[in-house]
């Protein structure tokens, strides 16, 4: 067999720990008694609240409205009453207001039936995607309607669907592709109609051969023209820049977007959300969360209402089997460590990990091994950046493209001196901007 396509520059091969949860079918989490629904679950401006304390809400009702072009609507994940609006801290340290909804267990359940959407125009479908609050579910949570809105004069050659899920531990996209491949592909076709893309490619890393097989099978059964591409396993292939290099062999220059190389990239979870929005008029009010990590009793993939607290998810997984060293929202490479069990699941929460403590080597001085440079997928020089930032020379760090760093963590993962490289990059970006 010839070698599978992948991106060329840099990258690492961490153990993927997906065996912990990849064979656990998606379970429904019974709706908890209380939901905490933040107004900022997406990239861009927080939504404007449409409800006040004491108002009653119905499942799927819009309770927050996009406040600017890059922003997204927020919907009630369950019926109930607004207990209060209070300021909370999300796992990614964003502080924002959130609705606290007391769930009415007696309320008439709301169902979302499949409707015929063939007659809809692309503008109408785009409006529905916006109206249903769909954002990227891969983690960056960029408003999907903005992404699908192709500016005049631009032409989308490739719609690339991201089924890579390169973060270790995470299996939510994997299960979605296995269990709901038809819905995912319908969502992809809707996105293709909106963007008028010439071709569609689904990129899936080859550590999920069953998902590749399932998608190929479904594509065949549905008689649609979609290429399913198995990719060599390499982190961070799930980043859109690396994914486009791997699938269509194009590199997005610094500061540019996929559209500049004629492509739009969507996550499989996002494609599913688009399907639910357009075909069922169901807003993005739940998502699959991988609950895993060595310290978690049961490893599960859970369809979770947005606003569910982490504590409720941990209880659902049977609590901790041992004392975790870290609680991580998202994957272990780019996810956020947090501590508060009242932190809610939001639209971008792909995983909840309870990680056990690992053996750590002591930090030493940089020994100039250059391994960080070898693994940097962006062609940056982390060792040099670190040195500048450590000496508070942010200007110079900016000059050698600090802003191109996407904090994927390859450098810090590899560094034998155990230097906190990503931490320094984040710090440098923040302090350098001022």
């Amino acid at each position: 067999m010839s070698r599978l396509p992948t991106f060329r520059k840099g990258g690492i091969h961490p153990h993927d720990y997906k065996e912990l949860s990849c064979s656990a079918p998606v379970e429904e989490l019974p709706c908890p008694d209380e939901l905490i629904v933040p107004l900022s679950q997406h990239l861009g401006a927080p939504a404007k609240p449409l409800k006040v304390k004491g108002d009653s809400v119905i499942m799927g009702e819009k309770i927050g409205e996009a406040a600017s072009f890059i922003s997204a609507d927020i919907h009630a994940p369950a019926s109930g009453t607004i207990k209060e609006i209070r300021s909370i801290t999300l796992a990614n340290s964003v502080v924002c207001d959130a609705f606290v909804i007391t769930v009415d267990k007696e309320a008439q359940p709301v169902t979302f039936e499949k409707q015929d959407y063939d007659a809809l125009s692309k503008e109408e479908m785009l409006a529905i995607v916006k109206d249903m609050g769909v954002v990227g579910t891969g983690g960056a949570t960029f408003p999907t309607n903005v992404k699908l809105m192709v500016p005049k004069g631009k032409h989308v050659q490739h719609l690339v669907i991201n089924g890579v899920e390169c973060e270790p531990y995470l299996t939510s996209d994997h299960r979605l592709m296995l269990e709901q491949s038809r819905e995912v592909i319908e969502g992809i076709l809707i996105a293709q109609r909106i963007t008028e893309a010439d071709t569609v490619i689904i990129g899936v890393e080859n550590n999920k051969p069953d998902a590749v097989e399932m998608l190929k099978q479904t594509v065949k059964e549905m008689h649609v023209d979609i290429t399913v591409m198995a990719l060599e396993v390499k982190y961070p292939q799930g980043d859109e820049k690396q994914l486009l290099k791997a699938t269509i062999n194009r590199e997005i220059p610094s500061g540019k977007l996929p559209l500049d190389v004629g492509a739009v990239v969507l996550n499989v979870g996002t494609a599913f959300a688009i399907y639910e929005a357009v075909a069922k008029r169901k807003p993005l009010i739940d998502r699959i969360v991988t609950v895993s990590g060595e310290a978690m009793t049961e490893k599960k993939n859970v369809r979770t209402p947005i606003g569910t607290t982490i504590g409720a998810l941990i209880d659902f997984a049977g609590g901790f089997s041992s004392v975790p060293e870290k609680l991580v929202s998202g994957g272990p490479m780019m996810g956020f460590a947090f501590y508060d069990h009242a932190t809610p699941v939001i639209k971008g929460t792909s995983g909840l990990l309870a990680l056990s403590s690992r053996k750590k080597a002591p930090q030493t001085a940089c020994i100039r091994c250059g391994k960080c440079i070898a693994v940097c997928p962006m062609g940056l020089q982390p060792t040099k950046l670190y040195r500048y930032i450590d000496n508070r020379r942010y200007e110079e760090a900016m000059q050698i493209d600090l802003m191109d760093c996407k904090e994927c963590g390859c450098c810090a993962y590899t560094c034998p001196a155990q230097l906190p490289l990503v931490h320094a990059m984040k710090l440098g970006k923040r302090l350098g901007r001022k």
Binding site: F320, K326, A337, T364, A417
Partner: protein, 371 residues
């Protein structure tokens, strides 16, 4: 509830690779071990003493610094590695004070004064070796004969290395239009019976392989106690490659550029034409293998980018060739590496990895930049 549990909150990534500074140092030391043991086998107990004294003094000096200034570390293994390398770079006949002086120079002057681990601009072990070589040239220039050769010469008195014998013969114009191997055989330099057999075997297949080359490859030659066995050094190099401690870039570009130059111009010195230089014997003798695999690849003093590493290797190969073939001293590899160490900050400044999504500027523009 479990709210009282203490969890760590830190920046991503939350997974870490298994490589660490000390692991690198100990693995390099492990890779050196076979060659060091061979040195002890052929040069005897005194070689072991030299190595041990050198390691003990390096680690001791590092420990002293730890006590004085708190910014040194013994556990990371770098002082051990420096000591081991210094020992392997000395002839077994050295006086016992030599490794101590070399270690002191390496640890105090080269490493500590520049800021300790990671901050020195030249390889401490090499610097230590060169320091004692220039300070005690007489003591350092006599090399005992390996045990494996004694039976064939019947005499264990110190001799010159291949390189210095050839160099001397060249300047005395003992022979003209001869290769290194021919000079050695003219001088009556001894070989092992094993090497003669191997050489004979190759001759029967129509391949001309001098017995001196065979001896140099396996380590039956005079030299610094850790540099003689090219074979075991190569084995250590392969180990480091497999463990991903070094990459191929430096050794291959160093050896490659040296081999090319030796083949193309190496014959000129002996009055032969272009492209007639002897390759194998020069590569396997002297400190070339130890230098290319273990010294030039020292992370702290080599460039950080792959492109830089290749440029660095090519430059070392070039200077090694110049000093070995046209210099008056036999210290070619050490001096070449130290010389190119000086260029490393410049290489790192100007040789950059290609940025993702960057369009490579046309060649024309690059030329203008130079001018």
């Amino acid at each position: 509830m479990e709210q009282n549990q203490v969890v760590t909150v830190s920046s991503s990534p939350h997974l870490k690779g298994t490589m660490s500074t000390s692991k690198i140092m100990w693995n390099v030391s492990l890779a050196l071990l076979p060659a060091a043991m061979w040195g002890v086998y052929v040069f005897g107990f005194r070689a072991l003493l030299i190595i041990l004294i050198s390691i003990a003094s390096s680690v001791g000096f590092e420990y002293l610094l730890l006590k004085i200034s708190k910014d040194a570390s013994v556990q990371d293994g770098s002082a051990f590695l420096t000591g081991l390398l210094i020992g392997m770079n000395l002839p077994s006949g050295s006086s016992f004070i030599i490794p101590v002086l070399a270690s002191a120079f390496a640890i105090f002057v080269v490493k500590w004064t520049f800021g300790g681990l990671g901050a020195n601009w030249m390889n401490p072990a090499l610097a230590g070796r060169v320091f004692v070589f220039f300070s005690f040239t007489n003591l350092m220039n006599t090399y005992p004969i390996p045990r494996t050769l004694i039976s064939s010469t019947g005499d264990s008195v110190a001799s010159a290395t291949y390189l210095s014998s050839v160099k001397m013969a060249m300047s005395d114009q003992v022979l003209t239009q001869a290769s290194g191997s021919q000079v050695l055989s003219h001088l009556g330099t001894a070989t092992t019976g094993f090497a003669q057999q191997v050489s004979g075997l190759f001759a029967s297949m129509g391949i001309n392989l001098s017995p001196y080359t065979v001896d140099a490859f396996f380590g039956n030659i005079s030299g610094s106690l850790g540099e003689v066995s090219a074979f075991l050094l190569l084995l250590g190099g392969i180990y480091m490659l497999v463990r991903k401690i070094i990459t191929w870039h430096i050794p291959v570009s160093f050896l490659g550029s040296f081999i090319l130059l030796a083949w193309a111009f190496g014959g000129l010195r002996n009055g032969n034409g272009l492209f007639s230089g002897e390759v194998l014997l020069p590569v396997f003798s002297g400190g070339l293998m130890l230098g290319a695999i273990f010294m030039a690849t020292d992370m702290v003093t080599s460039p950080v980018t792959y492109r830089g590493m290749i440029l660095y290797g090519v430059l070392i190969g070039f200077f090694t060739f110049l000093i070995r073939y046209y210099g008056s001293l036999p210290e070619s590899v050490s001096l070449a590496i130290i010389l190119v160490n000086i260029f490393v900050p410049a290489i790192d400044r100007y040789v950059k990895p290609r940025k993702f999504g960057e369009v490579i500027p046309p060649v024309k523009e690059k030329k203008e930049e130079r001018a």
